[in-house]
């Protein structure tokens, strides 16, 4: 329970791994820990100023507050962010968040933010059913837009958002599938695609946390609004609100979209009048016989959140921003593992390896550097990339028009296409994730298998 006696919605993964116990367990199981090169600031070195952009956060529920806290985290702030305004229709949420960012303008009306020419970017973290209205209005107002996943609850609404984003080529549109911005996962991607795991045969993912997802409010009307996730009419349930991220990641690593999904769902524990299952399972079929087994529950916390990709040579497991490799005895030697430490677990000899350790400097090992590195979650990277991309795109557009005038529309488009694009989920990936989530939810609610037609994933 949080300080106001309300349930947190369970999106705060920082609480989950305490004391590195899971990391130790994985190492004992013979896991090779893989991580991307650290980005810790060298001790004692000042950093040059970063171009900033005024940004507003719209929607200050638990996740919106997480976004605000990430933007302004004193240990590792998102440097391009100049958080100028926060917005929520619920006064207590607004006032509560203002404690964190007292300098930001507070408003219940998003239109005042869109009318403010100084605010160039908005982050939409409202309940999913409201995303379309906000995203379309923000794009029309010329803002760069970060819209949380899932983009919307229906394929049609998600398509409208994606098409508007596609047309707005002078603005950045990013979907909140933050794993796509995670340097750890991007580090793994070429490794996996190179065939280091052998033939992909299976994938698994889960999200387990015992939490009701229910929030309380003294105001009955507001309580109904707060608990939109528990109502089938306004929510894609666990597979949409949680599973979107993990299912999208599986497809990203497998480099394919799912071809069918079979689902199961039930209300096993939280029998409080909700009609959204508190426990779901889904089997996603991918090409070449690979299946993703996904389960998500609000009834038990054991083993928390992780994803595993299994290959004929090795498996890779990801938890938060850590990853481990479990090799088969007959898999080819990759070379670098010769230098890895080894640990015994039962009859298995595990390879303990800290990839990138030779690039790490002593400055990366200071408590401050480690704290800063830990604060740079996938969400941090997603927000950082969004704002840096927005700064660069805006500057490129301004510089082009200053240099060559506004008449050369094709030239401007070509110049913007060459602007730096840091890794992020785009409008197409966001749309496709909604297609998968909507159909998976249908499968879960009906207990049936649904074939996913390729044309459903096409935008136009």
């Amino acid at each position: 329970m949080n300080e106001n006696g309300n349930e947190d919605l369970g999106h705060n993964r920082r609480d989950f791994l305490k004391g590195g116990s899971v990391a130790t367990l994985m190492t004992m199981l013979g896991g090779v820990e893989l991580f991307a090169q650290t980005n810790a600031a060298p001790g004692g070195q000042s950093t040059p100023p970063v171009a900033k952009m005024k940004v507003a956060v719209i929607g200050l529920g638990a996740w919106g507050r997480e976004i605000v806290n990430t933007l302004v985290n004193p240990v590792a702030p998102v440097e391009p962010a100049d958080l100028a305004a926060i917005c929520d229709t619920y006064g207590p949420a607004l006032r509560r968040t203002a404690n964190t960012v007292p300098g930001a303008t507070q408003t219940p009306d998003y239109k005042t933010i869109l009318a403010n020419k100084d605010i160039k970017a908005v982050i939409i973290a409202t309940p999913t059913p409201g995303h379309k209205e906000l995203a379309l209005a923000a794009l029309k107002a010329g803002k760069h837009v970060y819209c949380e996943a899932p983009l919307e609850n229906t394929i049609e609404d998600a398509r409208e958002i994606a098409l508007a984003a596609k047309a707005a080529n002078r603005q950045v549109f990013q979907c909140g599938l933050q794993k796509r911005s995670d340097p750890q996962r991007r580090f793994l991607l070429p490794f996996i695609h190179s065939g280091a795991l052998g033939t992909s045969v299976l994938a698994r993912a889960q999200w387990h946390k015992k939490t009701s997802w229910r929030s309380a409010s003294p105001n009955p009307e507001h309580e109904k609004e707060l608990n939109w996730r528990l109502n089938k009419a306004t929510s894609l349930g666990l597979i949409g609100e949680i599973g979107s991220h993990q299912v999208d990641q599986a497809g990203w690593f497998l480099n394919a979209l799912p071809t069918a999904v079979t689902g199961f769902g039930s209300i096993d524990f939280w029998k409080d009048g909700r009609d959204v299952p508190d426990t779901v399972q889904a089997v996603f079929e991918f090409p070449a016989g690979v299946r993703l087994l996904y389960d998500c529950t609000l009834t038990n916390s054991f083993e928390g959140e992780y994803e595993v990709l299994y290959g004929s040579y090795a498996a890779i497991m990801m938890r938060e921003s850590k990853a481990w490799m479990f090799k088969e005895v007959d898999s080819p030697l990759l070379g670098w593992e010769v230098f890895a430490a080894k640990a015994q677990f039962n009859d298995d000899t595990g390879i303990v390896l800290v990839a990138g350790a030779t690039k790490s400097t002593s400055a990366d090992q200071t408590p401050e550097a480690k704290a800063a590195a830990a604060a740079k979650t996938p969400l941090w990277h997603a927000l950082d990339n969004f704002l840096r991309n927005a700064v660069d795109l805006s500057a490129a557009a301004e510089d082009f028009i200053t240099s060559y005038g506004a008449d050369d529309v094709d030239g401007l488009q070509a110049a913007l296409a060459k602007a730096e694009h840091r890794p992020a989920a785009n409008y197409l990936e966001g749309f496709q994730a909604v297609v998968t989530a909507v159909k998976a939810n249908e499968a879960i609610l009906s207990g049936k298998r649904i074939e996913l037609k390729p044309e459903w994933y096409e935008l136009s």
């Binding site: 090169q37 040059p48 970063v50 490129a396 240099s403 060559y404 030239g411 110049a415 730096e420």
Partner: protein, 229 residues
């Protein structure tokens, strides 16, 4: 006799003045177009011993008189001072560090470069042409006119005169391509060398000497349409 001399002199003055007015009227404006590039190359002490930054934006224009070569094969005598006034502008923030293959190198390097160029205060690098002399006529119809250019270069708010060789290549459809390069020292513009650790990279110390290499694409600006009667 004296009166005729005076009249002749006045006529001569009048003719010269008229010619000057006609010369001003005959200046043609070429405005900057996409396809331009400014590249700055330097040296450093780390794994990559050279560094490079690039911008695709060179703003500005050149106004040229009748003796400026705008057509291939135009006859201009070597040594002739060409009628030309030019101003070029590069936004410091548009300069990005790149790898050899043109891909982006590092945000950290870009931020340090902007800091050293004092881009927050002096966002523009500017060049003003003061004199252009034909050095070498083209040997073939497709070859450029090689010229000696003198002008004032301003970086980070500091202005120095520079001289460089530029190549002027008239192109079809009333376009020009002007290329050239020059070496200079950053400290001459009070731009300190980089000597620090860059986040995610290593300790980098850059050399003082750099080379500016540019390609500037321009197109003749169309005259405004005559007002309807």
């Amino acid at each position: 006799m004296k009166i005729r001399t005076i009249i002749a002199g006045n006529i001569a003055i009048l003719l010269l003045a008229t010619l000057s007015v006609r010369a001003a009227d005959q200046m043609t404006v070429y405005a900057a177009r996409p396809g331009s590039k400014m590249r700055i190359e330097g040296t450093a002490n780390v794994i990559h011993t050279t560094w490079q930054i690039e911008s695709p934006f060179i703003a500005g224009m050149i106004k040229v008189g009748p003796n400026f070569p705008t057509e291939p094969g135009q006859v201009v005598a070597p040594g002739a001072k060409l009628d030309a006034q030019a101003n070029a502008v590069i936004m410091a923030r548009s300069l990005k560090s790149v790898n050899e293959d043109g891909s982006h190198y590092s945000d950290g390097m870009d931020e340090i470069m902007c800091e050293h160029l004092n881009a927050a205060k002096f966002n523009q690098i500017t060049y003003k042409l003061t004199e252009l002399t034909l050095k070498e006529a083209p040997k073939t119809k497709d070859a450029p006119y090689v010229c000696d250019a003198k002008g004032d270069l301003t970086i980070a708010g500091v202005t120095n005169p520079i001289a460089m060789v530029v190549n002027i290549l008239p192109l079809p459809d009333n376009k020009l391509e002007i290329t050239g390069s020059t070496a200079l020292k950053m400290t001459d513009y009070k731009v300190p060398i980089v000597d620090k650790s860059i986040i995610g990279l290593a300790h980098i110390k850059t050399g003082d000497e750099v080379k500016l290499i540019f390609k500037w694409m321009l197109a003749q600006r169309k005259a405004p349409a005559a007002a309807a009667k």
